[in-house]
């Protein structure tokens, strides 16, 4: 007989014997074991799938141990129980039970160690509450955030609005306003700056000031000084040449001292017109005082002049009048006779000399008189004048005007008159209008003479323009005419085409002032190179509405 070993089960009886092969008990037992085993395997598989899928599961090894090994072992043990009904493999059954026992024991011990952790796990209902609470909190903070965003958005809108408003203010300033930072880089550039330089704000921003606005290059030290000393720097009436024209500018540099902003603002004002007006005022002030002086001087000059000229007249009488009794008597007393004296005078040119004294004296008298024609106070009131007569009077005056006569050869110039016969009377200051006419004649004569115009002619036209109720006087010359630039600037104070020292550049601008400001009229010029020049003086019959 073979000895039974652990895996040698020949000598054992199948377990069915214990049931005496009674089928009901036997099958009930076998079927139960098999079902249980299958169930355990199913659980094992489920546990493995669960552990594999749930990567976040804590202690996965515990589940592998507790789940797979225990259920696997239990299942196998039950399966073997079914087998041993017929095959007495009790050894294998024992091993299976042992594995089950060991793994169950290990799980039984380990479970106490992991228990606190599983206890700490929240149940789904608690979790749900937590989630609800959290959601609520989240919703609250979301609301807060939304509010914040709304406030922020509003603030930004206001900021944009404010920025536009500021931009508008800066742009509507008539001055050039340029903001620079510490490195003299442009950070602000207003509309006027765009206009003056022709450089847009976009292009100028970020550029060096000296590049964007070259004429401000020499102001850079002042900008630095303003920033350094935090004190305003300025320069008034800074002269600058632009397209050959002298212009004046006031420059003010404001340091920016507000916290967080450093740099300066440069303000540039074109004061050319003001400067020119000031100069013109000073000039007319001077001319007025000369006028006043002339009136006083006239008396002082006229008296010695009278002494000279009147004596010369008497002298001529005594030297040449042959029938004057006193002359005859004096000649006889001197042992001669008038005929001899007269012959001597003729031979020596004495009478011519006396006549020269008179002529020269007469010229002085005329100069004094002409000077006074602008200084006479009693003429400064408005009187009704006929432009035809006024023009004729002025021509007489021009004929004796020293400058016109000697320098410009006025006598040789033709005068063509085309007067409207029944010109209405115009209220005006005749002396001032004459001054204007003389100025225009002088300019025309000068232009025609210097250009060597042949057959130099002034054409004088008067007419009444009924539609505007103005009297119009046109002075036309056939001189060289003017180019566009000259024509545009002809009334500008101190603009002159004559060499330095010959013209003040004031004549026509004073004329313009007299016609437009004093008389509420209109002084205009039409000219083209090579086609002569026409000046139009229009005076309202209603008189000056705005007398300066």
């Amino acid at each position: 007989m073979n000895e039974n070993s652990f895996f040698n089960y020949d000598q054992f009886m199948p377990h069915g014997m214990c049931y005496l092969w009674q089928p009901d008990i036997l099958w009930a037992s076998v079927v139960s074991d098999v079902i249980t085993a299958l169930a355990y395997y199913s659980i094992t598989a489920a546990v493995i799938v669960f552990v594999k899928k749930r990567k976040d599961l804590p202690y996965p090894w515990f589940f592998i141990l507790a789940g797979s090994i225990i259920f696997m072992a239990c299942g196998t043990t039950h399966l073997i129980s079914a087998v041993v009904i017929w095959e007495p493999i009790y050894g294998i059954s024992a091993i299976s039970k042992s594995i089950t026992a060991i793994s169950s024991l290990a799980t039984g011990i380990l479970i106490w160690f992991v228990l606190p952790f599983f206890l700490s796990l929240k149940s789904p209902s608690v979790l749900e509450q937590v989630v609800l609470k959290r959601t609520e909190e989240l919703a609250n903070s979301n609301d807060l955030l939304n509010n914040e965003v709304a406030v922020h958005k509003q603030a930004r809108e206001q900021l944009v609005l404010l920025k536009n408003y500021m931009r508008n203010i800066i742009d509507s300033m008539p001055s050039v306003l340029i903001g620079v930072d510490l490195d003299s880089k442009v950070i602000q550039w207003n509309y006027e700056a765009e206009q003056v330089t022709g450089i847009s704000t976009e292009d100028a921003t970020g550029q060096q000031l000296a590049d964007a606005f070259p004429s401000l290059l020499c102001e850079l030290p002042k900008v630095e000084k303003a920033i350094k000393t935090r004190q305003l720097q300025n320069e008034v009436k800074r002269p600058r040449k632009q397209d050959g024209i002298l212009r004046y500018e006031d420059i003010t540099i404001y340091p920016l001292v507000t916290n967080g902003i450093e740099g300066a603002v440069i303000r540039l004002d074109d004061v050319t017109e003001q400067v020119r007006m000031e100069e013109m005022m000073i000039q007319s002030e001077k001319m007025l005082s000369v006028g006043g002086l002339a009136a006083g001087m006239a008396h002082e000059i006229n008296n010695p002049l009278a002494g000279m000229m009147q004596t010369a007249v008497v002298m001529k009488n005594r030297l040449s009048s042959k029938d004057m009794p006193a002359n005859i008597a004096a000649a006889e007393e001197s042992g001669t006779h008038l005929e001899a004296i007269h012959n001597y005078m003729e031979a020596r040119g004495i009478l011519r000399m006396v006549s020269d004294i008179n002529k020269s004296g007469q010229r002085v008298a005329n100069i004094v008189d002409n000077m006074l024609s602008f200084a006479r106070k009693n003429d400064s009131v408005y009187s009704s004048q006929n432009l035809n007569e006024l023009m004729d009077k002025t021509l007489d005056l021009a004929a004796t005007d020293y400058d016109l006569k000697k320098q410009y050869d006025f006598k040789t110039m033709n005068i063509v008159k085309s007067y409207e016969e029944s010109m209405p009377l115009v209220p005006c200051e005749s002396a001032k209008i004459q001054q204007v006419l003389l100025n225009i004649l002088r300019n025309g004569a000068q232009a025609m003479q210097s250009a060597g115009s042949e057959n130099a002619t002034f054409t004088l036209l008067t007419r009444y323009e009924a539609d505007r109720d103005v009297a119009c006087l046109e002075i036309k010359d056939n001189g060289p005419g003017m180019d566009e630039t000259t024509r545009k600037r002809v009334f500008e104070p101190f603009f002159t085409t004559k060499p330095i020292g010959e013209g003040t550049g004031l004549g026509l601008s004073v004329s313009y002032f007299i016609i437009t400001e004093n008389h509420g009229g209109e002084l205009s010029v039409v000219s083209e190179l090579g086609k002569g020049t026409s000046f139009y003086i229009r005076l309202p019959l209603s008189g000056a509405e705005k007398v300066a």
Partner: protein, 131 residues
Amino acid sequence: MKDILILDDEQTVRQSFVDFFEDQMWQTVQAKSGEEALELLEKGAHPKAAIVDIRLPGMDGDAFIREVCSRKYVMSIVVCTGSPEYEIPDDLKALLCVSNRVFRKPVADFNALEVELISTANNMMKEAGSE
């Protein structure tokens, strides 16, 4: 005999008037101020005509003419001045003895001056005779 008073403070001017009128057979008296001229009249000078300057030391020409009229001296007067803005005051314009034509110095045409003096005198006589 034609007598004429020359009133002018400027010596050379006065002398030229005197010389001219003497050549034209006038008897002249001259004065360099209104006060001096009045004194001469008081002393018995009785010119028929006078040439009167306006700007004078002391009383001016206008005041002198008024004084002459108020003292009933009879003479034709022509004003002769170097002041360009001078105009005869209205009260003097109304007087027959004063010519309305003012002669400005320098006087270029002495003959016109003489003619004016005579015509003013004649005018004065005519009016006086018609009264």
